[in-house]
């Protein structure tokens, strides 16, 4: 009964019926203003833009496009709140508000996850099991620090900075908002946050939560818009600190415009993580780790394991198993509970990914995609791997930010290490081996902010996250994440 080449067959036969999460219980308004000084207000210039569902291309809502005037209003509101109630508030009181945000977020978790999947295209399984619970966990975690800052920095005094201007990306909209807002508030700062242009909706819902939690007006301001609004935040003289997560190119521009100012900044930028599989690894679990590393959130992950290095003696086995596993990935409706890989976030991003697929093939790479059928409407990309590529290939060097994996092999430990570090990025990495000594040795030498051993893409609020080299400056999360939002002094 063996099929030719002893291949496994996953198509046809028993399949899973659609199991879509209901959208009945969500409340998305047809239009959102800017959340400034505790209220949703109209943008000064009266401009709005559409936010769409990337899986269907249907319009979900319209959101305000903030101009420099609106940003100025937001920064002033933040400054007033900083000088006023929030700045004067006892730290333990501050922490109550942050806990309240976390609790309301948990109560509305279902609504948040559905909206996150609608607006961003990520599978409901991920927004439900990862994004939203982790976002709430960040608020819970930092709420606890608010009145314990002197223990975070023994022998030093820790004072708030003032107004934090925060710009976040579209890949983990609510989670990134939480990474930014929670530590800023815990340390006593006020905030002006700009969500990404393509994924503003959960930030608008977060604004509602913040209002419901009774935070004094102006403590958190959320302004929607595109690059110009972000630039207005970065350039505003009333901003004391800039926190940015996004592409390395924009990060460079921000760094340039901040040069010579007194503003502090943290940047969490791109990545091209090496995921290294040694021959002695638990291969079946390593294959899962590869899949999780690159296809999680359609590969829209700055710390994605987008460069795979497999030890030569197991390369054929790993690639064959990976191809089988890719056949079982369900690509489609992000709201379906069985979907593994959702929609590409935007048409711009899809164009970018597709251009890299062409580049990879032109470079001589051997492209393999899963055989899944894609929906007719919306933005989609099949899970893709490239073999036969090398360190000089652009698909190996550059961040694609999509479900595209570049695979190379290696023979010796040193070769893997050299190749892994031969990149301008340094955000994350992964090592798979059954040998503890190899883990300790390798993780010391990989120049990346986070290195996972026998797992990948694990996040926790207590663990710092950030990059080496062109992957960024500063750390978010954990104790280290507080450092970015305080001025330290001598006791």
């Amino acid at each position: 009964m063996a099929t030719p080449g002893n291949k496994l067959a996953f198509d046809g036969g028993w399949g899973y019926d659609p199991a879509p999460e209901s959208t009945d219980h969500i409340d998305v308004k047809s239009r959102y203003g800017l959340f400034i000084n505790g209220d949703f207000v109209k943008p000064e210039k009266g401009k709005y833009f559409d936010t769409i569902n990337p899986a269907t291309e249907d319009k979900l809502s319209r959101v305000a496009e903030a101009s420099a005037v609106d940003v100025d209003k937001a920064v002033k509101a933040a400054r007033a709140a900083y000088r006023g109630p929030w700045g004067r508030m006892k730290p333990a009181e501050r922490s109550k508000y942050i806990y309240r945000i976390a609790r309301i977020m948990q109560e509305r978790a279902c609504e948040f996850s559905v909206i996150e999947s609608l607006d961003g295209g990520k599978p409901i399984r991920e927004s439900r099991d990862v994004d939203i619970p982790l976002a709430a966990a960040h608020f819970f975690y930092y709420a606890g620090w608010a009145d314990k800052l002197e223990y975070a920095f023994p022998g030093r005094t820790a004072k708030s900075l003032g107004v934090a201007g925060q710009i976040i990306p579209w890949n983990f909209p609510l989670l990134m908002a939480s990474w930014k807002i929670a530590p800023a508030l815990a340390c006593g700062n006020t905030v002006v946050l700009k969500p990404a242009e393509t994924t503003p909706l959960t930030a608008m819902k977060l604004a509602e939560v913040i209002a419901d939690a009774g935070l004094p007006p102006g403590v958190v301001n959320i302004v929607t818009g595109a690059g110009a609004a972000g630039a207005a935040i970065v350039d505003h003289p009333g901003v004391d600190k800039v926190a940015f997560t996004g592409s390395t190119n924009i990060g460079r521009m921000i760094q340039k415009s901040l040069a010579g100012t007194n503003k502090r900044y943290t940047l969490e930028l791109g990545g091209k993580a090496a995921n290294i599989i040694f021959a002695d690894a638990a291969i079946d679990q390593a294959v899962e780790g590869i899949v999780n590393g690159i296809f999680f959130n359609q590969g829209h992950v700055c710390c994605a394991g987008s460069r795979l290095f497999v030890q030569e003696s197991v390369a054929d086995e790993v690639i064959a198993k990976l191809k089988d596993r890719m056949e079982t990935l369900i690509v489609g409706d992000p709201l379906d509970k069985n979907t593994d890989v959702g929609a590409i976030n935007s048409t711009m991003q899809l164009d970018k990914i597709q251009s890299y697929l062409k580049i990879g093939q032109a470079e001589g790479g051997d492209m393999h995609q899963s055989s899944c059928t894609l929906p007719n409407k919306g933005y989609w990309c099949r899970p893709t791997i490239f073999t036969g590529v090398s360190q000089s290939s652009r698909v190996v060097q550059e961040e694609i930010f999509g479900p595209v994996l570049a695979i190379q092999t290696f023979r010796k430990y040193d070769e893997a290490l050299t190749k892994a570090n031969n990149t301008p990025y340094g955000l994350s990495g992964g090592i798979w081996t059954d040998k503890g000594s190899k883990i300790f040795n390798m993780t010391q030498k990989i120049r990346a902010g986070v290195v996972w051993a026998n797992t990948f893409n694990k996040f926790d609020p207590t663990s710092p996250f950030g990059g080496y080299k062109e992957s960024g400056v500063g750390r978010e999360g954990g104790l280290h994440g507080l450092d970015a939002y305080v001025k330290l002094g001598v006791k």
Binding site: M1, A2, T3, N6, F10, G13, W14, Q285, K337, N454
Partner: protein, 308 residues
Amino acid sequence: MTVTAAKKSRRLPDLSRAPVVDEVGVNERVARFQSRSIKKSSKVEALKLILSMIDLTTLEGQDTPGKVQQLCQKAIHLHDSMPGLPHVAAICVYPTMVGVAKEALADHDIKIASVATAFPSGMSALKVKLDDARMAVKAGATEIDMVISRGNFLGGDYRYVFDEIVAVKEACGDAHLKVILETGELGTLDRVRKASMLAMSAGADFIKTSTGKIQPAATMQVTLTMLQAIRDHYRDTGRMVGMKPAGGISTSKLAIHYLVMLHETLGNAWMTPEWFRFGASSLANDVLMQLLKQSTGLYQSLDYFSKD
């Protein structure tokens, strides 16, 4: 392949080079299977498939011919008031009950599986075990569920265990051989993987998790590890080996999770009673109850389903 040729092709693999298994990773993968949402027609299809894969089992010292006859009736008539149901794959009994089952099942296409080889402990001499198996086959068993000598396996005497399986396989003749690893006594997934490799290379037609007499019996973690071993064996040799988790699978929901795992690990070719079985005694009624719920929208009282 003739029996002798098949026997010659059997080689004890170098188990020191067996793949390692990472338990944390296995747990994560299992959690993914469990998060699949199986609804509507895919659920009905799954439930019927599960029924057809059940080895309806009674393995008690107090078993009587009467009980076995009743079990056989149940195997044939699962729930006749509901048309379109499949029958179970087999009934599974002790060797002394095989004759009773053969008579009761007459010419129905339901297999008769018998445990043998000093089940459940396997603590006896090889000769006794072979006689045990031969006796069951002679009485009409079409499938033999043997146990491996866990003591020898844990002691590292893989050769003994291998030779024993080869001998039992030969004693089985045309009957299918299921090799029970008794994973609850093996302790680690690494050993489960090794034992699976060993059993398959010795000629097992099926590998089976447990006797049901030791806790833990079947778990999804153990079953996944065995399915992955089956897949690798198939890749290497082209020979399909069946899988039978047994013990502890008593709800439809859990059984559906197993099917999802099978579906995403080995694919369609294994999704038949020929290649996958559930060793269970109380699963059938829960599946029947779920099937009725799917068609009527109501859960029926267990009193409406025959116990044996």
